[in-house]
Amino acid sequence: MSTNKLSRVVAHVIVLLGGLWTALPLYWMVITSIKPVAEVWIYPPTFWPRQLSAEGFIEAWTHGGAVGIKHSIIVAIGTLLVSLILGLPAAYSISRFRTGGDDLSFTILSFRFMPPIAPAVAFWILATRLHIFDTHLILILVNSMASIPFVVWIMKGFIDEIPYAIEEAAQVDGAPWLKIVRDHVLPLAAPGLVAVSLFVLIFTWNEFLFATILTGRFVSTFPKAVPGMTIGVYEPHWAAVAAQGMMVVIPIMLLSFYLQKYIVRGMTYGAIRQ
């Protein structure tokens, strides 16, 4: 765009300020996680740790962090598998055959827009009646409901971009449909699969409301452990929570650095191509 010298300087200043603004709370989280608990609760608060301590991490790990990670992984991967198995064929169908037209597309997408609070009570009753309350299964089911629309939408966009001619050529050679899809379509759709998988995993991992309402003692996912970490009666255990945050932030930053392209596409529901 404009290569005017002044505007470049201004742009850099803005980027710097914005970066600082975003980074500061993150920095606060980092140092809170490595401070000893006693230093977290002093006045005036310190902006550079006087002492380093792993108390926060130990507390987080033992009070639901480790367990939470395990349960969250199970639910996240389960959700991903269900969403892909159900969503991919549907995405292919809608892309190649325009199945159901706009109405079907909207119907599927609309499940994404349901405010969780609305069906929360119904799910709670349903889960209790079917004896799947406080199980991984109920969380996988509920999260899949929210993730499948995402999978269908993004993969439809990616499959749209794969020329049908490739499949046709393979058909002429007499290959069965499933083989064609596996050998020709899926490899080309791989970037889309990466984007979608990332999003489903992250979204399911962070899901809080259903995790809290639909589970009890046995299945405690990662976000649910957060408010439960307290010192004394009500005060949140900031060091532990910060440590929990660190456990999430570091993988996220790594993913963000290497897989930016895919994440951005996932964010825009596959609508924006670059």
Binding site: A23, A90, P116, L126, I252
Partner: protein, 311 residues
Amino acid sequence: MAVKAKTLEGDTGVTERRRSLSEGKSFAWMLVAPCLLFLLLVGLYPTIYVLALSFSKFHPGEGLEFVGLHNFIRAFASPRFWHGLYVTGWFAIISIGVQLVFGFVMALSLQQVSVRVRKIMTTLFLTPFMMTPAVVAILWKQIYHPTFGPLNYVLSLFGIKGPLWVTSKWALPALVVADVWQWTPFMTILLLAGLQSLSREIYEAAYVDGATAWQVFKDMTFPMMRPFIFLAVFLRFIDAFKLFDLIFIVSRGGPGDLTESIAYYTYVMGFKYFDLGLAAALSVLQLIIIFIMGKLLLNQLSRVEEVSRGT
């Protein structure tokens, strides 16, 4: 299998071949069926149940009693309901407005820096909204802590005595700030992606013709970015409308009901007072609103696709 190939012009102007309809249709529906069945089973049951609940009154120990539109009338007559809508609306408009402006400015700025800087900034910006919202909420709760939080301490260095934040009249703006922090980067990245998908040639032509930067922005960039802006705003609006986690952890709808969004109000009615009929009616109303918004979002999504494909 013998396939009759037909050449169709898709909406995108790209020539695609489709399998002959007669043979493809049932196969196509077979592919979609499991997905649709799953969604309907898991999603429809609660929806119908909520609908039924919204027309009933829950008597603990006795079951449900049909009361027609009574719950809806109660909702519309309840000042707390309108207050909830007001809080949600205020929050959404201010929060999204700020995010949009800051996001756009940042996106434009990011276009002018080197690729390396852009990549690093994107990494940083992708983090806040991908973090566990519960963690973000408690992080901000700590920042806002009147005694031990960094914010009030920094303010005191400037001679300002910071308020109690989440337990004061500043509660809602405080939540807005936390939301802005978390989601402005999202806006930035989305708008940046939009900016980068615009064609370069017309910009070069405009500069050759002698247009000023402001003219370029006003008459070219902004109109072309409209679908992307709409996409970003609607995505955020739907999330802001559903807002629950942040309020639940940071302020519990308080002080009083100052930060009670419509979603939180529904939660209180349903899970604290067990007024399930009312909670269900509220949910139905929210669903209607979100459905309308969702329909609008769909239109914007296809417009965005048109722009970025250059059609």
